[in-house]
Amino acid sequence: MSVDRLIEELHLQEAPVSTAAAENEVTEAEFSESSDPRVVIAPSALKLEPEQKRQKLEMDAVLEMKKQGISGQEVVAKLVEGSASFQTRTVFSQSKYIKRKSKKHSDRVLILRPTIRLLAKAYYLKDPDRLAMLRADQLALILQMAGVHHGKNVVVFEQTLGLITSAVMERLGGSGGCVHIHRGAVAQSIPCVHSMNYDESTSSTLLPVRIKCLLAGKQLPYENNRKPVNEEEENNDDSTAQKAVEKLEDQDQEALARRNDRLERERRGLELIDEEKAHSLIIGSRTVDPISVLELVFPKLAPSASIVIYSPHQNMLVSAYDWLAKRQTVNLVLTDQMCRIMQVLPDRTHPLMAQHVAGGHVLSGIKVIDQ
């Protein structure tokens, strides 16, 4: 699933008006806007027919009408005609139907610039598992507890698709460093960094460091194969082999430059850790035991550094708490937070009847040293 598509879908959610909605979005809206607001709890039990079946007008026909420049108002009129259920609705329900369809088929689209907040929301709704269920509100808390701002040196180990790394980079604003600990030869699976399209200044603070190097306690050379592992596609069948050879020299130059850049960034990242200049450590863990990261990084953190550990698994944080409590750490605290959206409408104010609640826990503390 492409990030662009995510961002697009996100717009649909936040946008008061849109044209590009998939038809199933309508059905969802009908659940949450049902006249009995408690309906949303167990929609399956109600066995509502999907909108498609009750609507005789095909989706294709609607799109065709739009191509022809037919106005949103006319499209809605056709939809009302085609709706099997319209006549059986109450007047109130009919007016709601028209209102909803009018919104949906009016001719404006809202385009928003990607922001960390919107990105966090989009990925959380689409793929909470791969994001370690990190909610936008908890990401905000992590940044604040870690004290990320211009000029800070922050070490990040995360399994959240680059979201934490990207958020840290934005807050550094081109000064300081964001050491990103990654597996393999090249930082992979960090779409949240790439999709923000950071300028050179902000990008300059990203310092990817290989786990291998951290484990070895020193920078390692790349393995002997010409191309960095995992980076280029392994598309070597005969028909394309010829072309590949032709491009080889250019590629060599480019690859070499990229590799040198990576090595230089890694050197800076490792140096920053070794010289005890890291002011914050953020761990956003899904499968990796935070203690495994703490063992390598904690001893080298600058005194008075903040440690912030996020995980959907409370027991991992309990173990990490015990680990930190035995070392020199103060202000250790484990928190969890509920984030609820309110529906604010005249005479119908209440918290949303259902929403995504998956999330995690945040452990934070401050490293201190003896006299």
Binding site: D36, P37, R38, V39, V40, I41, A45, L46, P128, M133, Q159, R183, G184, I211, K212, L214, L215, R286, T287, V288, D289, S292, V293, L296, P312, H313, Q314, N315, M316, M338, R340, D347, R348, T349, H350, P351, L352, M353, A354, Q355, H356, V357, A358, G359
Partner: protein, 307 residues
């Protein structure tokens, strides 16, 4: 000894006429009245009622395409499986409402509306055998249906269902109830009638369920105006968790195999099966999307009138 079908008491073994809860999978339970000659169709195929009769409650039975369990009905299981005619009150709210009404055997409770009878069953079971539930609804199909269910469930003697708009006509009984429960769009209209239906000599409790805060605000004012004291509004937000087997990786393992959950056992270089790091059971919030609001519960006390 053979007893009449009843949610309150039953034999060790299932008889014809009993209401049973057929447990198919987690989240899918089907209530059915056992009757010779009938067949239940569900996910795991067909199950002839003949096979149910005489079995022990809780027993596993084979259907044509899988097996199911036959469970004793309880208030909670009924709530989870009942035929829904309206939006219903779920177990967390039902439990809290019973407590806020101080309901117990012998209590006289008025309820409106009846809806699909989820809470009605919970109240009827709690006030049995010597209390009574008066349930009111404006829709006759609902009261008729719940009366039918009460009959099948052995709750007829402790229940009365009335077609009545309590907001305009008040409750079926006056000066006798121990508790009144309201789940109506305009509770403030029913509150003065609720005060009338409560026992003057003993006083009583009032509980009102409303999804919206504006309803709560008006209900609180109406309760104070009707002489209720100790008015309090609460909200319950349950959170459901599931237990998963969690694999804690070291950085070395992560570097080697990535974040895919490894198999519990793997082969080493000599081809022998070796145990991997054992998994740890841990609770995570699941499902990811959950109900976060049903309604506010406003409760209050009417003091007895001392003569």
């Amino acid at each position: 000894m053979t007893v009449e079908p009843s949610f309150l008491q039953y034999d060790e073994r299932i008889q014809e006429g009993d209401t049973v809860i057929v447990y198919v999978t987690y989240g899918q339970m089907v209530p059915t009245v056992v009757k010779r000659g009938q067949t239940l169709m569900m996910k795991y195929g067909a199950l002839r009622h003949e096979f149910i009769i005489g079995k022990k409650w809780g027993q596993r039975l084979s259907a044509t395409a899988g097996y199911v369990y036959i469970l004793r009905p309880s208030s909670d299981l009924w709530t989870r499986s009942l035929p829904r005619r309206t939006q219903i009150l779920y177990t967390a709210d039902c439990a809290q409402i019973l407590s806020l009404l101080d309901a117990k055997p012998g209590s006289i409770i008025c309820e409106s509306g009846t809806g699909s009878g989820s809470l009605s069953h919970a109240i009827a079971l709690t006030v049995s055998p010597n209390g009574h539930l008066y349930t009111h609804d404006i829709d006759e199909t609902r009261t008729t249906k719940v009366l039918e269910e009460f009959k099948h469930h052995g709750l007829s003697t402790v229940t009365t269902a009335v077609v009545r708009n309590v907001c305009t006509s008040g409750f079926h009984v006056e000066n006798s109830a121990d508790g009144v429960f309201l789940d109506v769009p305009a509770p403030w209209e029913a509150i003065p009638f609720a005060a009338k239906s409560l026992s003057r000599a003993k006083g009583g409790r009032l509980v009102s369920f409303s999804p919206c805060l504006e309803q709560v605000q008006r209900a609180c004012l109406a309760m104070a105006a009707a002489g209720f004291v100790c008015i309090e509004t609460i909200e319950l937000v349950p959170e459901q968790k599931k237990i998963v087997g969690q694999h804690r990786q070291t950085l070395e393992e992560f570097e080697e195999i990535g974040d895919a959950y490894p198999k519990e056992r793997k082969r080493n270089q000599e081809g022998q099966l070796v145990e991997n790091t054992p998994r740890v059971s841990t609770a995570i919030v699941f499902p990811y999307s959950q109900p976060t609001h049903t309604g506010y519960l406003t409760h209050a006390t009417l003091l007895p009138v001392l003569d």
